[in-house]
Amino acid sequence: MSQLWTITRREFAGYFSTPLAFVFIVVFLLANGLATFYLGAWFEMGQADLTSFFMFHPWLYLFFLPAISMRLWAEERRNGSIELLLTLPVPLSAIVLGKYFAALAFSALALALTFPVWISVNFLGDPDNGVILASYLGSLMLAGGYLAIGSCLSALTRNQVIAFVISVVACFLFTVSGAPLVLDIFRSWAPQVLTDTLASFSLLTHFRAITGGVIDFRDLVFFVTLIGVFLVATMIIVDMKKGEGA
């Protein structure tokens, strides 16, 4: 347990060793603001809620989170430090989880720094803070899902750019499978069961359910399962590479 904490702490501190982390957070906040106010037309809506703020998160995360997760393993491989890490007497699970939690904590920090939006909406109107809290939780879950997928794919390669691109593609597929546009295509010919199954695999479907203000146990189970599956897959890939010699 203390090893897990040690690794998480080191990884988290690693994000702030360069100004890149700050640039990342600033750009993320700016993009968030632009999406909310221009694309989401938050003021024009005249409603005291954060729907137009949260509705863009899946699409923003699609690019921002693979940028965080791409370095998780690819960089260690390129740098050679993976050899150091994997020959220390630490269980692989602690390394995989430690790296993941650090990435999640960093994303959570970026998300938490959007608090002025929440203050503004409370200042301007009388929003349902329960829904907003649920939405923040949903947003964090969504980030967790993307990061787990990204962690797994980063373990496949030593090239961060490749890790980024395949993570964006994978996250995109896991998102659009719940978008009405895609579902309509299937709906026209496929049986209802297939369409529903497809939609149920989408992070978008479950994210929307939570940001709707209803924290359904099944949505949480979905996210936790997805994260678990991809972290276990990360472990399997890292372990497999020990046999291959890469």
Binding site: S2, Q3, T6, I7, R10, A13, G14, S17, T18, R77, N79, G80, S81, I82, E83, L84, L86, T87, L88, P89, V90, P91, K242, G243, E244, G245, A246
Partner: protein, 328 residues
Amino acid sequence: MIEVQHLVKKFGDFTAVNDLSFAVESGQVMGFLGPNGAGKSTTMKMITGFLRPTAGTARIAGIDICDNPLAAQTQLGYLPEGAPAWPDMTPRQFLDFITRIRGLDKSAARQAMIRAIGMTELHGVLDQPIDTLSKGYRRRVGLAQAIVHDPDVLVMDEPTDGLDPNQKFQVRQAIEEMAAHKAIIISTHILEEVDAICSHAMIIDRGEIVAEGTPSALAARSRFFGAVSLTLDTQLLERACKVLDGIDNSRYEVVTRGVETVISVFADTAQAPATDLLAHVRDLISQQEWPVRALALETGRLDDVFGTLTRKPRPLADTANVADGGGA
């Protein structure tokens, strides 16, 4: 302390390590020699648990690295090839991380860090990010990491690679200081290093052991072993050759370096003991009154043995250093 048993590693069709077995006891320093791609790094990666062997295993202090990697790695210090570290950390943060991860308690960690920093002389750079350090310092940071928990078994892949002569000397001194109560494996292709610090040496080529023994025993396998070499002025060469032609059952080789020439005289037959040849040459020198700069009975040359054993033609595909994919 280290027992390697029938270790095999294959990368696809390429056999990087082929049925390697050896043991290193506490107090021994085993020098691992071999050309690039011979399987040195791959073997070390398997001993330390970074790579899984295709067959065979290694035991660290009696613990099987494949069956119980964490317990084995606890006993182990490892300096991977190229001394990788996290470039954003300072040596202090880095060593602090290692002691924490290895579970040293606070006061033990403090003591351990002071000792490791002292041995590797890192005082001056403790708070500079590792990626701003020179190659020599980085290597020493890697070394400090490997020894900070005072492990019984130490595996170091080219610990002095890329260091200047002074730094090499320091690292060798650090290894010698620790050698008495540890089992150490180092890989190197610097042959003088083997003479300087190794109690045992092993030459491997294409994943197989081609020779092993003490450095002097290995060197004795050289054709130079027992030869008499004399160093004199190049001007004297012609006269010297005439006289040397007169010795029965012998031949000689000449290597000229500017004003200095080294003549190695070999006994043609194994009948006469080498000391007889030496005495003979010495007599000739005193008769002729040559100003000889040096006269020595050769104890053999490791580089010569290394070359003879490993300079066999190899198929092109084999020369690719597949084994070093992780660290190159």
